[in-house]
C-alpha cells in the first residue's frame, strides 16, 4: 500500500549523469537529499521490473482458468463432433504435433519479444522491424516445421493405421496454414497489450497462446477432416 502510494505520487528528477551529477566513490559522502531522491527512483525502477519479470500467482491462476473454460467449450464441440475424428485416419496423430509446433513457437516468440523489448526499452523503427521480422519468422518456422511433422504424421498414420499418406499430409498443411494465419498475429498483439498493462507476458501470453493453439488446430482439424473425408 505504502509502495503503491509512493509509486503514484513520486516523479523523480533524474539528474544528467555527465553534467549535473558528481561521481561519488563513497556512499557516506553522498548528500542525504540526493540519496533519498535516487532511492525513490530505484524503488520505482525495481517495482516496474518486478511487475514485468516477477511471478504473479493471480495471473497464472487467471490464465489457467481462462484456458480451462475456453478448452472446456472446445471439449463440448469435440465431444459433439467426435465422429469427424473417426472419419479421418490420422486426425488425432496430427493434432498434438501441430498444436505443439504453434504453441511452442508462439510462446518462444512472445518470450523473445518481451525480453528484447525489456532490454532495448524504447520503441523505434528498429524495434518495429524486429517485431515484424520475429512474427514472420515464427510463422515461417511453424509452417516449415509443420510440413516436416505432417510428413512424419502421414507416414505413421499409413504405417500403423492404414490411413492415406497424402490426405493426412494435406490435412496437416491446411490446418497449420490456417492456424498460423489466424493465431500468430493474435499472440504478438497480446504481448504488447500485456506489457502495456505492466504485467509479465511470461505469466499470461504463454498460457493464452497455448489456449489459442490448442483450440484453433482442433477446430480446423474437425473442419478439414469433414471437407477432406
Amino acid at each position: 500500500m505504502v509502495r503503491d502510494k509512493q509509486k503514484e505520487t513520486y516523479t523523480p528528477h533524474i539528474p544528467n549523469a555527465t553534467s549535473e551529477l558528481p561521481i561519488y566513490t563513497d556512499v557516506d559522502t553522498v548528500p542525504l537529499p540526493l540519496l533519498e531522491q535516487m532511492s525513490g527512483h530505484w524503488l520505482a525502477m525495481y517495482l516496474g521490473q518486478k511487475r514485468q519479470h516477477g511471478v504473479s500467482i493471480q495471473n497464472i491462476i487467471f490464465s489457467q482458468l481462462l484456458t480451462v473454460l475456453v478448452l472446456g467449450a472446445a471439449g463440448i464441440y469435440l465431444q459433439r463432433d467426435a465422429r469427424a475424428l473417426l472419419l479421418f485416419g490420422g486426425a488425432l496423430i496430427v493434432y498434438p504435433a501441430i498444436s505443439g509446433v504453434f504453441a511452442s513457437n508462439a510462446a518462444a516468440l512472445s518470450a523473445t519479444i518481451h525480453h528484447e523489448l525489456s532490454d532495448s526499452g524504447i520503441w523505434n523503427r528498429r524495434m518495429i522491424m524486429f517485431l515484424l521480422r520475429s512474427l514472420f519468422q515464427a510463422i515461417a518456422v511453424s509452417l516449415l516445421a509443420s510440413i516436416i511433422v505432417g510428413l512424419l504424421s502421414a507416414a505413421l498414420a499409413t504405417w500403423f493405421f492404414h490411413a492415406g499418406f497424402l490426405p493426412t499430409l494435406k490435412l496437416a498443411v491446411l490446418v497449420a496454414a490456417a492456424t498460423g494465419a489466424v493465431g500468430m498475429p493474435i499472440a504478438v498483439g497480446m504481448v504488447l497489450i500485456i506489457r502495456k498493462l505492466q504485467s509479465n507476458p511470461d505469466d499470461v501470453v504463454g498460457p493464452t497462446a497455448n489456449t489459442i493453439f490448442s483450440f484453433l488446430p482442433l477446430v480446423f482439424i474437425l473442419i478439414f477432416s469433414r471437407l477432406l473425408a
Binding site: 478448452l71 471439449g75 488425432l92 504453441a103 518470450a111 511433422v149
Partner: protein
C-alpha cells in the same frame, strides 16, 4: 542479478528444434489414435482432453519462460513454486467440473465412484506432469546456460512437447487400462 543475454539461434536451427520437439508429440498422438475408440466412449475423458492438454502445455511454457528469463530472481523461483502449488489444484478442480458437467449435459450421468475415479486421474496426471516438467526444466536450463544456448530457443519448445507427450500417453493408457 541480471544474467547476460545469449544470442538467439538461426532460422534453420529454430525449424530443426521445432520439428524435432513437435515430432516427439507424435508419440502422444499415436497413443491417442490407438486408444481412439475407447476414448470416444468416455464422454468426460474426451471433454477434458483439450483442456488438460492445454493446461499442461501452459505450465510447461510458464515454467520454461520464467526459468529462462535473464532477470529471474531467486525469490521469483520460490514464488513460481508457490504459484504452481496453488494453481494446479484449482486447474484440476476446474477441469473435473467442466468435464463432468459436459457428461451430465450429454445425458451420461457418472456415478460417485466414477466421479472419484476421474478426479483422481486428472489430479495424478496433471500434478505428475507439472512436477516432472519443473524438475526437467530447471536441470535443462542450467545445462543450456553452461553451453551458452538461449533457453527461449530450446527450452519452451522442448518442455511443451514433453508435457504434451506425457499427458497424451497418460490419457491413452488410462482409456485402455484404468477406465
Amino acid at each position: 542479478m541480471k544474467k547476460p543475454m545469449i544470442a538467439h539461434r538461426s532460422f534453420w536451427f529454430a525449424i530443426g528444434i521445432s520439428a524435432t520437439t513437435s515430432s516427439i508429440s507424435l508419440l502422444g498422438g499415436l497413443g491417442l489414435q490407438a486408444a481412439q475408440e475407447s476414448l470416444v466412449k468416455f464422454v468426460p475423458l474426451l471433454a477434458a482432453l483439450p483442456a488438460l492438454h492445454a493446461a499442461a502445455n501452459n505450465y510447461a511454457a510458464t515454467i520454461a519462460a520464467h526459468l529462462g528469463d535473464p532477470r529471474m530472481y531467486k525469490q521469483s523461483l520460490r514464488r513460481l513454486m508457490i504459484a504452481l502449488t496453488i494453481s494446479t489444484p484449482i486447474t484440476i478442480l476446474a477441469v473435473s467440473a467442466i468435464s463432468l458437467l459436459v457428461a451430465w449435459f450429454e445425458g451420461n450421468v457418472p456415478s460417485v465412484d466414477q466421479v472419484k475415479k476421474y478426479i483422481i486421474f486428472y489430479a495424478a496426471l496433471l500434478a505428475g506432469v507439472v512436477l516432472i516438467i519443473f524438475i526437467g526444466s530447471y536441470v535443462a536450463n542450467k545445462a543450456l546456460q553452461k553451453h551458452q544456448i538461449n533457453s527461449d530457443d530450446v527450452l519452451i519448445n522442448t518442455t511443451s512437447s514433453a508435457a504434451s507427450v506425457l499427458l497424451l500417453l497418460g490419457f491413452a493408457l488410462a482409456a485402455r487400462f484404468y477406465f
